[in-house]
Symmetry: C2
Subunit: 420 residues, 2 copies
């Protein structure tokens, strides 16, 4: 059974790149009707890498799964009005806009209020004062690359995962649901803003890193070690890499037991007057511990290690390539990943909602993304009550557009216009 707790919500999303679209994705994966509005021809993220062999964007196709697509030129006055109309359509679950628009085409909260007093807008931006920022610049500014990478390096290391983007999207969705709850309770709308730079600052703050830097100074780069405990990477005899972690006393005992090093570490504790059952002691002696354990891992292949590590309940994982991760996800019947038939791409391994509801099945199965303009006619008719004639007129004047596959089957007079 698929549970769709947000099926009463109608959200209009007019946002590019990762943060805004991942907000809409999280909502769509819990059953919300999310209408993504793009310029005809697509926004600046429509052809972002990675690309499929067909040339279609795997990035766009995966960030917009389960949404509906309206192609609409909101740079024209008429298109701008239509966007505001869509975002303020009547109904208790409607009147909600997520956007990251900037400049003169922006739909402001006041634009929405003029049509609907209880409108909810969630505006995603770079800095809270409106200056642009992206994950890469925000991460550099907030000090994380300077803590990442080898202890022998003096260069900052960017993470490739757009972590702040994804977290901003999730935070935006959280704000949106809180605003919906507030409206349900009080009747009031909300103007919510969420800036990448705030999310990053709040994120490192929540981990205690700002306070640490002020009180203890900057934490140096420390390679693949887990900070404040024991965990690091080891090479196997067949040149695989493993991440092995011992956060708790039980995990540490398991690691000592499987490697038969308990007597070594007991003698070391005596010699150095320390107690390695404390994770802080393990962190301080991380290089020593790693050096003692390294030959054991280096003498065994990954397949030789797998059984003993699992049986001893060591907390570990092989480092897998993305291709291996994809293959394993495909082989796992209970995985959140599955093949979908993506228009313009073909079969594509896609993921659903990570929340599992009332049992082992994922709440929202992986589904395909729309093609640009797939739902233009349907949404304009259903949300705004436009007639076939009115939609045909908007198509004529290129205020709105249809997906290529829709042009042939359009209920409007598109056919005659295209042959004119």
């Amino acid at each position: 059974m698929t549970i769709t707790p947000l099926s009463h919500l109608h959200v209009v999303e007019c946002a590019t790149f990762v943060a805004g679209p991942s907000c809409g994705l999280a909502l769509a994966q819990m059953g919300a009707d999310v209408v993504r509005v793009d310029l005809p021809g697509g926004g600046s993220d429509h052809l972002r890498w990675p690309l499929a062999r067909s040339g279609a964007s795997l990035y766009w196709s995966n960030l917009n799964k389960g949404k509906r697509s309206v192609a609409l030129d909101y740079r024209t006055p008429e298109g701008h009005e239509l966007l505001v109309d869509l975002a303020t359509r009547p109904g208790p679950g409607a009147g909600i806009l997520v956007d990251n628009l900037v400049g003169r085409h922006r739909v402001t909260h006041e634009d929405l209020l003029a049509r609907r007093a209880d409108a909810i807008s969630v505006h995603v931006l770079g800095f809270p004062d409106g200056r642009p920022a992206v994950d890469y610049t925000v991460n550099a500014a907030v000090g994380v690359p300077g803590m990442t990478g080898s202890a022998t390096s003096s260069e900052p290391v960017n993470h490739v995962l757009p972590a702040w983007d994804l977290l901003t999207g999730s935070t935006a969705a959280l704000g949106l649901l809180a605003a919906v709850g507030r409206r349900d309770q009080t009747g009031e709308g909300s103007r919510v803003e969420v800036a990448l730079a705030d999310v990053a600052l709040s994120g490192v703050g929540a981990l205690g890193w700002l306070a640490e830097a002020e009180q203890q100074g900057d934490r140096p780069q420390h390679g693949n070690h887990v900070y404040g405990s024991f965990g690091t990477s080891f090479a196997t005899a067949d040149d695989h890499r493993l991440m092995v972690v011992a956060l708790t006393p039980g995990q540490w005992r398991a690691l000592c037991a499987v490697t038969s090093t308990a007597p070594v570490f007991a003698a070391l504790e005596d010699a150095l007057s320390t107690d390695l059952h404390h994770e802080s002691a393990r962190y301080e002696l991380r290089e020593t511990i790693a050096s003692i354990l390294r030959p054991w891992f280096a003498a065994r292949t990954l397949e030789e290690l797998r059984g003993p590590l699992d049986e001893a309940r060591v907390l570990w994982s092989p480092y897998r390539s993305m291709r291996e991760a994809a293959a394993d996800a495909r082989a796992d019947q209970r995985s959140v990943a599955r093949d979908v038939d993506q228009p313009g791409v073909g079969p594509m391994l896609a993921t659903g909602n990570p929340l599992r509801w009332d049992g082992p099945a994922p709440v929202g199965d992986a589904v395909a993304s729309p093609e640009l303009g797939d739902d233009t006619e349907e949404v304009l008719a259903e949300s705004l009550g436009l007639t076939t004639h009115e939609i045909g007129d908007l198509l004529d004047r290129e205020v709105v557009a249809l997906a290529p596959a829709r042009r042939a089957t359009s209920r409007t007079t598109t056919d005659t216009r295209e042959s004119a």
Copy 2:
């Protein structure tokens, strides 16, 4: 004005490390009453690094801001009952548990249902089948470290940011609010599970990386370059590092203009029959572009660069240390970071909610964390209606505990017991 859209919610959190506590933190920062339940003496994360000079955990103190703390030994049958009682207390906004408990002390959804048919439980776990996992092992398994770090390296590079933990916490909060909305609409409770491994798989899936790996093969490590566009790090004359990004044609033109390299790139486009206004072309020629731009940055100091880059509207940031990030946050009146007086620590730079509501002020100001057991008496009296005598009895038998500072002022008979 501080807006607290979740002030009608009463959440019991019994969770350690980052994911569960950051779920409760997000809710507390929007006004929810979050009661964190810990073992007397603290859970396994109570003394996690980083530490303050006083020895208190800056990690714990920052992940539990604005919550209330109950110290309760849920390993005893009586303590377990009290935890279930707290999580199922009556009221439309109560009956909500967030936990990451494992093993025989776990509070199951069925435990809650026995007391409250519409209970909501949000259970955070490693793998969806219950096997343990942490951010470091999940990240290794999902292929990200193999894409991170220098193009000349063959070693995987762990990110230091526990990105999947933070995203799991935010996703858990999102599931919780969706479940509350569902209960408000239908009267039904929900059992929600969120596994770190699912969040990571769903995260790389949303970016199109699983589909990419299957269709294009594994993406190699590519250093600090932005994938699929142009962006990389440059060194300045005074040995600072900058992250400079040109995602859009406008950002690319700005970068060419300020560095006076437009004619160089125009000639290069002719020579190589390419068009660098396409971001994919910029990515393919990233090393060439970086080599042409590098001497311009290397000839100037950070302070010499700042004005021209900003005036030209280049998208860039200096790489800052965490200490510099903290100092800048402290200097910014509108920042989400501010000093709080943290018990056991003293003044501490802490962050509030990144969501800004109805204006420029952050919605939830930074506040201090409780000390362990600060609210034990108050919560037991208020939520469960226990009398002073009953609480005193629980204290006597060490089923519950108070914070040290509370022992002197306790309304119970603690004083006489302690002198007995």
